[in-house]
Amino acid sequence: MALDSRAKSSLASFLGIVLSILAAFIIAIILIFSFSKDPAKTLYWYFFGPFTNPFVFGNMLESAIPLLFTGLGMAVAFKSGVTNLGGEGQIFAGAIMAVILGVLLPNLPGGVGIPTLLLGGAIVGSLMAGLSGFLRMAWGVSDLLTTYLISTGMVYVINYLILGPLRDPAQITIQSLSIPAAYMLPRLLPPSYLHAGLLLGLAAAVFIWFLIYRTHLGYELRVAGSNRQFGRYGGIEVRQYLVVPMLISGALIGLGGAVQVVGRYGSCFTDLTAGLGWNGIAVALIARSNPLGVIPAAIFYAYLDAGAKSAMINSDITYEIASIISAVIFYLVTAEAAVAFIRRRLGK
């Protein structure tokens, strides 16, 4: 009886995902047919464009890298029952910290310098999110509010740094000073931008999965995150688990920002985050907060984005239409995942 209903419910959620993906693609196809004069061509570029040559394929994977880190950060927060809406600020702070360290310490060997920059980014992100966790633990301040507010404030501070003290006067575009070339990660698939940060992201996913499902800390995080009262009852000091998951979540997202600097840009500019913090939430929802699930979820997101770009370049649809199509697909997929997430939260 119990097994029956369990099988039924997992079948239902599997079907739900398949159906919503199918519906999303059907709507995308209808949109393409109504807006494109050559729908077959558009369809081809939209769905197969990202695989047509190593350059676009590499760039697609590259754009998945920051999503791996932000998605993991959000997954840890969800699993632990805390809310981190500060991804934007944390990723930005991680990036600027990497730039600052790179500029201040220009003469380290790459093998020391890169980890230093990455660590610096992770620590800054961690402290930012951890502060919200501390505020909730100490005074019960909503982490939903404080993560968002701290992050938003931080964005302005960093913008000031980029426009002011850290600006590189030698550049025409507005950007910060650059880190030494020795601190850049190697490219994996030149001429595409794909860099070794991908391996770091994959390793982070495996590490976080192990941490959550196989370690003492992860166990207590999951217990406290799924039901705080039960955790307390079972003899776990649950108060600290308002802060610890925030530290981990912020560290991952800050690390993502630092990876953007050492892997891709070498410097920081005002639009570096470009919604990566928010998209991380969507990625974590599609992955159902499973750290290993974040890998396909991040790549799926990057694939949709790359498909839209490729259709735009190679056929007659505009950027706006391409974005709308990506958005429709993405909303439908996320909505199903969101519903499932909510259903689980409610314990139904």
Binding site: S5, R6, F230, G234, E237
Partner: protein
């Protein structure tokens, strides 16, 4: 089956001279909750006469609330029919009940604290302006008029959050009246009220009765039956035991009908001498400033190794608070006095530290407190002792599997260790909680409502396990509103009423009826202020 009942009813319906005074008639109502296979109602017949106040009484779990939920569309009966005004009706939702003028006021209020009284009352049925905008002025006028008609003295502008419990209840009643309900069902309306508030509340009920409203009050307070009701229906174990005019029943008879006289569950209890005191409670008091009386008042109890102290009482008399305070889960009010485990003060310690002192605890709320429904069964089983499964901070999966499978086998838990525990049935969840707590070989076991919602076979299993713990020299504190199980398991029986221990007996020759009297506040043991309980009893 159902159709034949309906056919009979329909043919009777056409007979002339049917009792026109009967407003609501429920016939052959049966309801089984499939989750835990509990029969909440079994072929129940119930009727309401126009303009009466009808008391529906019975112990916890007797099926009163289920029956009334069926009447107001919140639950569906598996079998049976309902007639209102002699017409067969189908009540599938609260909306259907609403149309028939049936409204229910729940034990726990459903009010928006930061809305005004008027906003709360019209919520869901707001007067509109131009068919679109909320007409707040009209809502206030309507509520004010309604409140005056019924003598409620409510300020429609007051914030609900600022009201007393008694006033909130009046808001709830007004909500029903605003929806033109003429049949009001009140679920344990007095359980949260002070004496004065109860008096005022009864005045309101009489006033409503004079205006031809029909009222059901669900209660287990016997004195109220005589004070307020015209007729009384007694339920026990899902069935109606008796239904008659209240005047013809005295409290003692009522108590006997409520608790019944069926055979006790047979539990084999070895005669044995208890060991030394494990848990001692001295003058334990819990005061919540927002509550007029202490939640716990000067409790003195002692549990020795190898004995079961059973605490009986009706819900709402401090059993839950005692459970929370002793297990470190209390979040309400300020406890004072002493609680000692092996002579060491433990009052106010966190659950983590209490557990290190050898406490095992099976909570009444096994779904929210005793388990985390989304986590796998095995994660639930190891929570208290998960440190034992660590090597260098990493969980040893093989030993967790072995441990889980051992418990699953030994306790006959039907479920997969990797499936979320929430997918198990209620009985199996309780077995899992019990298996985890008992696997610790505890010094002290606090177990609350251990068989609530379980079927007979499962209950018996739980009883055997508790007995085994006792025989292995665990001190057991059993908190239960089920008198049968307290009598079957305990060596000593204490009764709580309104936060106090009103009686303490060795469990020799005790019967349900006399204990029932203590539970319902009809008697209390005279006690001296000094000395320990044993001296008082002897």
């Amino acid at each position: 089956m159902e159709s034949t009942i309906q056919a009979n009813v329909a043919s009777k319906d056409t007979l002339p001279g049917a009792d026109s005074n009967i407003l609501v008639e429920m016939l052959g109502i049966s309801k089984v909750y499939p989750d835990n296979n509990v029969t909440a109602n079994k072929n129940v017949n119930f009727n309401l006469q126009r303009g009466e106040i009808h008391a529906l009484v019975g112990e916890n779990g007797a099926g009163k609330t289920t029956l009334m939920k069926i009447l107001c569309g919140l639950e569906r009966a598996d079998q049976g029919t309902i007639k209102v005004d002699g017409r067969l009706v189908r009540i599938r939702s609260a909306r259907d009940a609403d149309r028939l003028g049936i409204g229910m006021v729940h034990q726990r209020f459903c009010l928006v604290e930061n809305f005004s009284v008027a906003d709360n009352i019209v919520l869901g049925k707001e007067p509109l302006q131009a068919g679109l905008f909320y007409d707040r002025a009209k809502a206030k006028r309507t509520v004010k008029a309604l409140s005056e008609d019924f003598g409620f003295e409510m300020d429609p502008n007051a914030l609900v959050g600022s009201l007393t419990v008694g006033q909130k209840q009046r808001v709830e009643i007004l909500k029903a009246l605003y929806r033109s309900s003429t049949i009001l069902i009140l679920d344990e309306p007095t359980s949260l009220l002070t004496e004065q508030e109860i008096k005022a509340f009864f005045r309101i009920l009489r006033h409503l009765k004079a205006m031809e409203y029909t009222i059901v009050i669900i209660t287990h307070k016997l004195e109220e039956v005589g004070q307020i009701s015209d007729r009384v229906t007694v339920m026990r174990e899902g069935q109606v035991v008796d239904s008659r005019p209240s005047a013809s029943l005295d409290k003692a008879t009522l108590a006997r009908l409520m608790v019944g006289k069926e055979v006790l569950l047979q539990v084999e209890k070895l005669a044995k001498e208890p060991g030394s005191a494990v848990l001692e409670i001295r003058d334990l008091t819990l005061i919540d400033p927002t509550c007029p009386r202490p939640l716990l008042a000067g409790i003195n109890l002692r549990v020795r190794a190898g004995e079961v102290l059973g605490i009986a009482g009706v819900a709402g008399n401090g059993l839950g608070e005692l459970e929370d305070v002793l297990t470190g889960m209390n979040s309400r009010g300020h406890p004072s006095g002493q609680a000692l485990i092996d002579g060491l003060e433990v009052l106010g310690l966190s659950p983590a530290r209490l557990r290190r002192k050898g406490l095992a605890y099976v909570p009444a709320d096994r779904l929210q407190r005793g388990s985390s429904l989304l986590l796998p069964l095995s994660d639930n089983l190891i929570v208290v002792d998960h440190h034992a499964f660590l090597r260098f901070g990493i969980l040893r999966h093989r030993s967790i599997s072995k441990f889980s499978n051992d418990l699953i086998k030994r306790f006959g838990i039907k479920g997969n260790m990797n499936a979320p525990i929430g997918t198990l049935s209620g009985g199996n969840i309780q077995k899992a909680v019990l298996s985890r707590e008992l696997s610790r070989r505890p010094k002290l076991l606090i177990i609350s409502e251990p068989t609530w919602g379980l079927d007979v076979a499962c209950s018996e299993f739980v009883y055997q396990e508790i007995m085994e713990m006792r025989n292995e020299e665990t001190a057991v504190l059993l908190i239960s509103s089920n008198l049968d199980e307290v009598l079957a398991l305990s060596d000593q029986v204490a009764v709580m009423y309104k936060g106090e221990v009103v009686a303490l007996f060795p469990n020799v020759g005790l019967d349900r009826e006399s204990l029932g009297g203590y539970m319902l506040g009809l008697h209390r043991q005279e006690v001296k202020k000094d000395g320990c309980w044993e001296e008082r009893v002897h």
